[in-house]
């Protein structure tokens, strides 16, 4: 595996109308690692992931994935490049069955032919989803829905999985399960970049962490360094 990072984001500026949300944001994700972006509500951490994925227009800056400039690729093409995003609040196709939701994850023609083997792999990671395959996705519990959303994202066989607030709206017990899922996904060799507003849930799970405030990257370091950093402790832990 080469030393160049898998994902490089440089000088990212994003505006919503006249309002600037991200200011010169830079970050990196290395092959096979878990990285987390910590930031309070409204810091722009969701926008970072959406901008990488092409869901919001990028004013200036670069997104480089595996050496290719993918800055202005449309979202559905990002999927074929090997990046997948689990949207905030899961965003399932709630009227469709569990199986239909998961299969839609392999919609893109670059992966459609491998859908059957992908499904087998994904269902081996989450056996419960095979048991519940004919249930309507919207009627499942919050934890199960998050599992479906992750399973759906894994169907395209990503090498990098982006997760927008994977713990949002889940009970502490379910959050523990999602942490396990993130580790499991990572152990399959898939790099993960997620965002979160809880210090321990973000940096406790990740190899590398970033702190985003007011749309600016103010700090970065290893997961341990971040938890021990004065800024993080003062602002987030009140110590």
């Amino acid at each position: 595996m080469s030393d160049t990072p898998m994902l490089q984001v440089e000088g990212l500026n994003v505006l919503y109308g006249n309002y600037q949300v991200l200011w010169d944001v830079a970050l990196e994700v290395k092959h096979g690692e878990v990285a987390a972006v910590l930031g309070p509500n409204g810091s722009g951490k969701s926008t970072v992931l959406k901008a990488i994925m092409g869901l919001v227009p990028i004013q200036s800056g670069k997104v480089i994935f595996e050496g290719d400039d993918v800055t202005h690729l449309p979202t559905h093409e990002m999927v074929s490049r090997g990046i997948s995003l689990v949207l905030e609040r899961r965003r399932l196709f709630t009227n469709m069955t569990v199986r239909e939701n998961i299969l839609l994850g392999a919609y893109h023609k670059s992966v459609a032919s491998r859908a059957a083997s992908q499904l087998e792999w994904v269902e081996s990671l989450f056996p419960i989803l095979a048991e519940r395959r004919d249930q309507i996705a919207g009627k499942m519990s919050g934890g199960e829905q998050q599992m479906i959303a992750i399973a759906r994202s894994l169907m395209s066989h990503p090498r990098l999985l982006l997760m927008d607030e994977p713990y949002l709206g889940l009970s502490p017990k379910i959050v523990g399960e999602v942490v396990k899922i993130i580790r499991k996904v990572n152990s399959e060799g898939i790099a993960v970049l997620f965002n979160e507003q809880n210090v321990k849930l973000s940096f406790g799970v990740s190899h590398h962490g970033y702190l985003l405030e007011g749309g600016r990257m103010v700090l970065s370091g290893t997961g341990d360094e971040m938890i021990k950093s004065d800024v993080v402790r003062r602002v987030y832990l009140g110590i």
Partner: protein
Amino acid sequence: MTFYLLIEQIINGLIIGSTYALIGSGIALIYGTMRVLNLAHGEFYMLGGYFVFYFAVTLGIPSYLAIPIAVFLAFVLGVVIQRMTIHYLLGREGWMFSSIAVTLGLSIFLQNAALLMFGEQFQSIPYYVSGVVEIGQVRIPAQRILIFVVAMTTIAVMWYILKRTRLGWAIRATSQDRDAAAVVGIPAERIFMITFGLAAALGAIAAAMLAPIYAINPWSGLPLLLKGFVVVILGGLGSFPGAIAAGLLLGVIEAIGVQLTSSEWRDLISFGLMIAVIWWRPWGLFGSKPA
């Protein structure tokens, strides 16, 4: 009203209702996926009628070939028009309003284009089939049976596409959540174009079946557009199955209502029903109350 007259009116209602369902389901498909109320939908119906007239009557191609050609042409026209107009508005600031302005403009443009190309005289197409079918004491012209069979077959095919094909899954997924569809690799913009084309094709099929009964002229789309609106409001805005059920129901209510009053009451009955539904169940007769 005698029993047989009632049965006859219900059958007539279902026949006309099946064409309302075709029109309404096209409007519902477009609204469901793009959240655009297509005020030019009647013009796809009108142009579909002219296309059938051109191929079947002017060129004399047999109707079983002329109709598929006309429907395909309507599909292509729908795709091209979506790409040239709606495509540029979706997602922009104020697109909810601008899309209404654009489809209204399209409607006027297409009416006048038809006026220039085809003239203002009314055109009609001969019956595709002749004869009368007798079921007990009820007599129905074979042409009307054909309307019902074609309309219901079209709806069944459309249903199959939506439920069982890759394209249908993509349409349903895009209509539920555009961003979620994009992140699984569905090209939403292409799905929007195809959906618009499919809706135009549904309108053209309705036109092909109704043209032998209602004459074609550049303004013949408007009454059908208004019927289509009643259908999607009864069925719940954007719901495909809702539009099918509401179309058939509206046809039957109109037929029985007209029998009890007179034919001048037809539109009063359907729009009265629409206003009542907006009042009591704004989410439609068949939809569920939004949370």
